[in-house]
Amino acid sequence: MATIEHILIHSDRDILLARQKGRAMGMLAGFVSTDLTLIATAISELARNILLYAREGEVELHLIQEDRRNGMVIIARDQGPGIHDVERAMQDGFSTSGGLGLGLPGVKRLMDSFELISVPGRGTTVQISKWLHK
């Protein structure tokens, strides 16, 4: 298992692949099965946004270690239309889930860190990470 994986996202099938590789990498890092579910969920939500808003993009997975602690960084990148109002996009109720707080705000809550950079007309990058809690 490589410590970096690139998955191009063009279709639902690619979301599957990204989930599968994310789960495998998470297992390698030592995450328990509930965390693996959350990692797969976060990948689903990010990849789903790529298909929905940019039609294509990529998901990058990194296995990392810091202070002898394992973790995973997931980066979702697209060259889509970008998000015009990031603050609003992070509010529950703005997303396509109809106010349930899924989508981006949901992903943020599942992870240890969350960063979003979006340039209107140029695209969006979301970087999230999860650490193994000892």
Binding site: R19, L38, G101, G106
Partner: protein, 337 residues
Amino acid sequence: MTGLSQSSIRRRESALADYRRVLDQMLAEPDEEAALSQAYNLGRTLLAAGMGLLDLLDLHHQVLAERLGAISPPVKDYGGSAGVVLTPRDISRAAGRLLAEAMSSHEMLLRGYTEANDALLRMNERLERQIGQIAHALHDESGQLLAAVFVELDQSLKTMPEAEQLRLEPVRELLERMENQLRRMAHELRPTILDDLGLRAALEFLSDGVAARNNLAITVEGQLNCRLPPPVELGLYRCVQECLNNVVRHARARKVRIRLLSGPQALEIRVADDGCGFDPAPAIPARGIGLVGLRERMRVLGGKLEIRSHPGSGAEIRLQLPGVVCGGNYVPAPAVS
């Protein structure tokens, strides 16, 4: 199954069919991720369609029971090797993984609510600290300034002829009234009487002050047979305070009746006025933010708010706190959405 509408039965049937399909796929295919991903999407869709967690669990149990009952003949080859018979353990394990996946969206939702609730509690604490600071400024700092004014006044009076002294006497009286008012306001803001004597005494003290300042008749009736945890008592006190603020601001009432009712498993405080009333139906009624804040406050305490009012015929606000067992322990009801 009584009480379920045709459409909700149909919705459940179609959800059951989806769940069966996903579980069978999970059991049949070596590529589990496809089934897990579908389980996730199913859970997300059902959540968005309004299905609750217990309904999802119910669905899961039913499908699992069906598949465990229909265990032989072997469902299909599994893991690519021919002739593998699925044991109940295989099925249970697969179903468990599937359920976790389907519930993942609920986890996001739950974390969202927990976060919002924590934020409300923190905001409440910050507000209480600010109220404390204002009370301190009113009571101690303004009190000291006034004391200094009294000393100055007394010294000036000594050097004055008696006729002048008499003329200043009303000034002294006004200052004394002001001092009393400030002290009173400070105590209403930060009711130490609440800690010492309990909710009923604190509400009486509050009512006396509000009544005197606003030319209202306010009565407090009923009794609580128990003490509640300090944050709950303070929360209820703040709610009644807000109710009285609303009455003063909007109701044009003459009488207000506050009743404390404690049943075997719940506690209720009713604040009724004989004012102009309002229509409680709109999402944000005419009384606006005050009521929204009140509702949020009750929610944080694990209780709820009921409004009874019609334009022209007064209003009654019922602050309800279930889970209170007087004479015993206070068991907070979980905050609900």
